[in-house]
């Protein structure tokens, strides 16, 4: 079974989704919960069976699909992707479990299960075409979720989301095909296997162009400034479940792809573009934090703060050293947990009041104390308070980039301060003071269905903040091998100097030492 556990993880939800068409609509949610719980258990078993001392790919499967063109069904998982896969199945599970009474709930559950297939598929795929297939397929369920269950502007938002990402991915596809062509030139055979591509050392000018082609695809997905404009619309219009999955998992596809494709395949280009991208990341961090401060809509605040934190992930990734990349992978998990939880929380209040305007609220802490507590914890986590999950990732990311540039890190560090400002001020406006709006006086506190989603998230946020080692160690192992590969492959002096060699740094500090 272990030989095919990844295929099982990928296709189990899809098959279940097809079977879901038969299930009666009153039982659709129960069916969805059952399927996603099984899927989550399998993904936990994957973690259990995962050998944390191995830095390379595990549970690999390889089936030839189009040998004439080098396309294989090649999947595998390492420390970088393992936890994102678990997170994807976790969020699908609690997402379906916390669904309220919605129209067409059966369609929604089926769509979510299909979406789960594509999410797991993207993070497990090791063949570029397979990756692309899942990457593109993930757009369709999300399009439907936003377009069918969203707010008044849902159609505009969903089309914008689809077209933006689709356009970027097509440019990336041309890059992939060119990469395959170069591989064909070098070896005489077609291959789309990422692991084979790793072995190819390219001249700098090819690296630069290919990096740019992939960058457009990934940057739109992340989304990086100035391609981020689709995301606030998508979040603003999407239903709660859509926002949660989008923020927690779908955005991670972009940052994950940077680590999986751009860095190991084009190390010199990554080193070359390090500062321009860092500049974009810092603009993204500060600018979107300021935009978030100006928002009146509480969901928009969370959306912009989510973009702002994605900037820290990018910064950590392009530190090009072990601390930075480990930090950014860990922050992907943390960001998923925290922003997923925040979108859940916004959904809770939206379900009660059908508005997301902060001016409508005030004094909620006295009416909904449990809600206010959880919101407070998650907000603190988002701000980057020590002992909560985001701090570990943010700290490591910034530490990594500190080795490259002090000034840039200082600037990025201000984001934490700006973040604290807008988060605390919105929290104050919504939760403290007198209850000014009569409609808020009788609001019920979070019910058990909502707690089902929120309590586990809170526990994880605290647990990983206090004791991140179980995740950090496997991530660190895999990241080390990526950085070693990059250093070996680098051909320009710039690349060699910016990407550290790990041989003389064996006694490097273990990252979790700083946390305690």
């Amino acid at each position: 079974m272990l030989d095919h556990i990844l295929s099982l993880l990928i296709f189990f939800p899809a098959i279940a989704a097809i079977m879901g068409f038969v299930v009666h609509k009153d039982s659709a949610k129960a069916f969805g919960v059952a399927v996603s719980v099984i899927e989550f258990v399998i993904s936990l078993y994957l973690w259990f069976a995962f050998d944390t001392n191995v830095s390379g790919m595990q549970f690999m499967e390889n089936i030839s699909v189009v040998p004439a063109f080098g396309i294989n069904y090649l999947v595998g998982i390492d420390g970088i992707s393992l936890f994102i896969v678990i997170m994807a199945s976790f969020f699908t599970m609690i997402g379906i479990a916390s669904l309220g009474d919605m129209k067409k709930i059966k369609n929604l559950v089926i769509t979510l299960l299909f979406l789960q297939m594509t999410m797991v598929g993207v993070f497990a795929a090791l063949d570029a075409i397979l990756f692309y297939v899942f990457w593109e397929l993930s757009l369709v369920p999300m399009l439907y979720i936003i377009g069918a269950w969203g707010g008044p502007l849902r159609i505009y938002a969903s089309v914008k989301f689809f077209l933006y990402t689709f356009t970027g991915s097509l440019v990336m596809l041309v890059g992939m095909l060119f990469m395959a062509f170069l591989y064909n030139q070098a070896t005489g055979v077609w291959s789309f296997s990422i692991l084979e591509w790793y072995r190819l050392i390219l001249p700098l000018n090819y690296q630069l162009w290919l990096f740019a082609a992939f960058f457009i695809g990934f940057a739109i997905k992340v989304p990086m400034f100035p391609f981020h404009t689709w995301l606030p619309y998508a979040h603003g219009q999407a239903p709660t479940i859509g926002s949660v999955i989008l923020a927690a998992v779908l955005l991670k596809m972009g940052t994950y792809a940077f680590i999986r494709f751009s860095l190991p395949m084009f190390p010199d280009a990554a080193a070359f573009f390090m500062f321009p991208i860092a500049a974009i990341a810092i603009i993204m961090i500060i600018y979107t934090a300021m935009v978030a401060y100006a928002q009146e809509d509480i969901k928009q605040v969370v959306a912009y703060s989510s973009i702002s934190h994605m900037g820290v992930i990018i910064l950590g990734t392009f530190a090009l050293n072990v601390e930075g990349i480990t930090g950014s992978v860990f922050l992907m998990i943390g960001h998923g947990i925290v922003s997923g939880a925040l979108f859940f929380l916004v959904g809770v209040i939206y379900d009660r009041r059908h508005t997301k305007m902060m001016s409508e609220f005030g004094g909620l802490a006295s009416v909904m104390p449990r809600y206010a507590t959880i919101f407070g914890i998650m907000m603190m986590a988002s701000v980057g308070l020590p002992l909560l999950v985001n701090f570990v990732g943010e700290f490591l990311s910034l530490l990594g980039f500190y080795n490259q540039s002090h000034i840039a890190t200082l600037l990025a560090g201000t984001a934490i301060i700006v973040g604290a400002i807008y988060m605390l001020s919105s929290y104050k406006r919504a939760f403290f003071g007198e209850v000014t709006n009569e409609a808020n006086r009788k609001l019920p506190d979070v019910n058990s269905r909502e707690l089902l989603a929120l309590i586990p998230l809170t526990i994880i946020a605290v647990w990983l903040g206090v004791y991140p080692k179980p995740l950090l160690e496997p991530i660190n192992n895999s990241v080390k091998s990526v950085v070693m590969l990059m250093h070996e492959k680098a051909i320009t002096p710039e690349g060699k100097s910016r990407i550290p060699s790990l041989e003389n740094k064996v006694a490097m500090q273990t990252p979790e030492a700083e946390v305690k």
């Binding site: 063109f69 377009g147 069918a148 077209l163 356009t167 097509l170």
Partner: protein, 502 residues
């Protein structure tokens, strides 16, 4: 006294005519049958035509086995040229016809299918297209082209709506102009080389190193214009949307596939040596036509309010996309053309068939045309299966993986990338993004909007019958599971194209 000409029957190799003669015999058979037994059910004619076309397909399989062992087969004074291109072209022509004929078995009665002449003309048309691809003799190409086109004009007009007559007349006038262009272009090339066979022209041009370049260009441009009409390249596309709108949806689907592949094969034969001749002008002309056809047709498709017209523009855009193969001119590109068109056959025939089963007698209030977008608003609520299938075809047309056309697209773009046409590859990729918008528009109408016009829910499956559902089922299977047979398809096509020297 004329001296005797001795030709042995073996050297004529009459067998090469068999694939074309089968449908001709079939057509004559149907006409004769009508003389003796009038007023037979259309189902009998459909099945008879289907039998003949399948027999035709069988003979092609026979030839392809012969081709893969013995190479190119010549016959009938070397006029017939059965090479890989000819066989692949005929496979698509005959295969698409097999899928098309059962669409006549609608549950509602239609005027045109009550005439046996419809089926006779249809078979004549098939053989015309087969002649077109199975020769490199310009005269025979011309005869095949006209034979097929004249039959096609009549088939469109038989649909018996005022718009159909308009469409047929429009197509006829444009076609007549194209025929004139073709004759003129061939005449110029004949005057230059003294031959009407493309490979001999190539030999003459290469021998004198394109000495009469201006004249060659005149001839080639006229031929390109003539073929451009047939495969609907911008700016020779103007007839296409109106004709598609006037023709029945099934006929429009057929027209978007079969005449075009015949045209592509001829273009490929004509331009293969010209592209590699080093005459920059031709490459520039072709490059511009390819890019403009892809892009402009896409932009026009964006603003259509009728699904059928949108599909008409989209198929123009697909033709431009595929035309890039001729410009690139490598074996991979030429194989990609056939791969793309085979996959396109399933998807596009499926999409048009979905329109065909929702054919109405009368328009509802608020509905501007037969297949306006708002007719499909909220379809997921009233006919979820139809909506899902239609969405599937739209996603495939948009090039979303893992559906059929995605594989054609990546193979074609890869061919462009591999031969250094990076900019062209990017334009092709970005055009897919533009196209995604109008395909999505239909999906949005079907899945995310509320029903807009007061329309009888039966309309959406009005024409549905077992035969139509079977064809749509085949199209769905071909669209969804294309990746399963992809490898053998690529190997088969590449072998055929490569062994024909393209």
């Amino acid at each position: 006294m004329l001296s005797h000409v001795n030709i042995s029957l073996e050297s004529l190799n009459i067998a090469t005519l068999v694939p074309m003669l089968i449908p001709i015999m079939g057509a004559l058979f149907i006409l004769v049958l009508d003389l003796f037994k009038k007023d037979q059910s259309k189902s009998m004619y459909v099945m008879l035509s289907l039998l003949f076309v399948m027999l035709d397909f069988g003979s092609l399989i026979d030839f392809s086995i012969d081709f893969s062992t013995n190479g190119t087969i010549l016959g009938y004074f070397d006029m017939m040229l059965i090479d890989g291109l000819a066989l692949l072209g005929q496979f698509i022509i005959v295969g698409a016809s097999i899928l098309f004929i059962p669409l006549a078995l609608t549950s509602k009665r239609f005027h045109e299918f009550s005439y046996p002449e419809f089926f006779a003309l249809f078979l004549f048309m098939i053989s015309g297209f087969q002649f077109m691809v199975a020769t490199d003799n310009l005269i025979l190409i011309f005869i095949g082209l006209e034979m097929a086109s004249l039959a096609l004009y009549t088939l469109i007009a038989l649909h018996n709506r005022s718009k159909s007559f308009e469409a047929a007349v429009k197509y006829f006038t444009m076609g007549a102009l194209a025929a004139g262009f073709f004759a003129f272009g061939s005449m110029v090339l004949y005057a230059l080389t003294g031959s009407v066979e493309i490979h001999q022209m190539a030999a003459v041009f290469n021998a004198d190193e394109f000495a009469n370049l201006p004249f060659i260009l005149v001839g080639v441009v006229f031929l390109l214009a003539a073929l451009g009409f047939k495969v609907s390249l911008v700016p020779f596309h103007t007839w296409a949307p109106d004709v598609y709108e006037g023709a029945s949806a099934s006929m429009a689907g057929y027209m978007s596939i079969v005449p075009k592949i015949a045209g592509f094969v001829v273009v490929m034969r004509m331009f293969e040596f010209l592209i590699h001749s080093g005459v920059v002008w031709l490459n520039v002309v072709l490059y511009v036509i390819v890019v403009v056809t892809m892009t402009a047709a896409n932009i026009w498709a964006l603003v259509q309010s009728d699904v059928k017209r949108m599909l008409a523009y989209s198929s123009i855009s697909h033709a431009g996309f595929v035309m890039a193969a001729v410009l690139i001119g490598t074996t991979q590109a030429n194989s990609a053309l056939f791969l793309y068109w085979i996959l396109f056959t399933f998807t596009n025939l499926g999409a048009f068939s979905m329109l065909w089963i929702s054919r109405q007698k009368n328009l509802a209030a608020g509905q501007s045309s037969d297949h306006s977008y708002n007719k499909f608003a909220g379809l997921i609520k009233v006919a979820p299966i139809s909506a899902t299938i239609m969405a599937l075809f739209m996603l495939s047309l948009a090039g979303l993986p893992p559906f059929a056309l995605f594989w054609g697209k990546i193979y074609m773009i890869s061919a462009a990338v591999s031969s250094g046409y990076i900019v062209l590859a990017l334009i092709m990729a970005l055009n897919s993004a533009i196209a995604a918008y109008y395909y999505l528009k239909l999906i949005i109408y079907m899945f995310m909007k509320e029903p807009e016009i007061d329309i009888d829910n039966k309309v959406y499956t009005m024409n549905s019958s077992v035969a139509l559902r079977t064809i749509i089922g085949i199209a769905v299977i071909g669209t969804v599971f294309a990746s399963v047979v992809l490898n053998s398809l690529i190997e088969f096509i590449t072998a055929f194209v490569y062994n024909s020297g393209y």
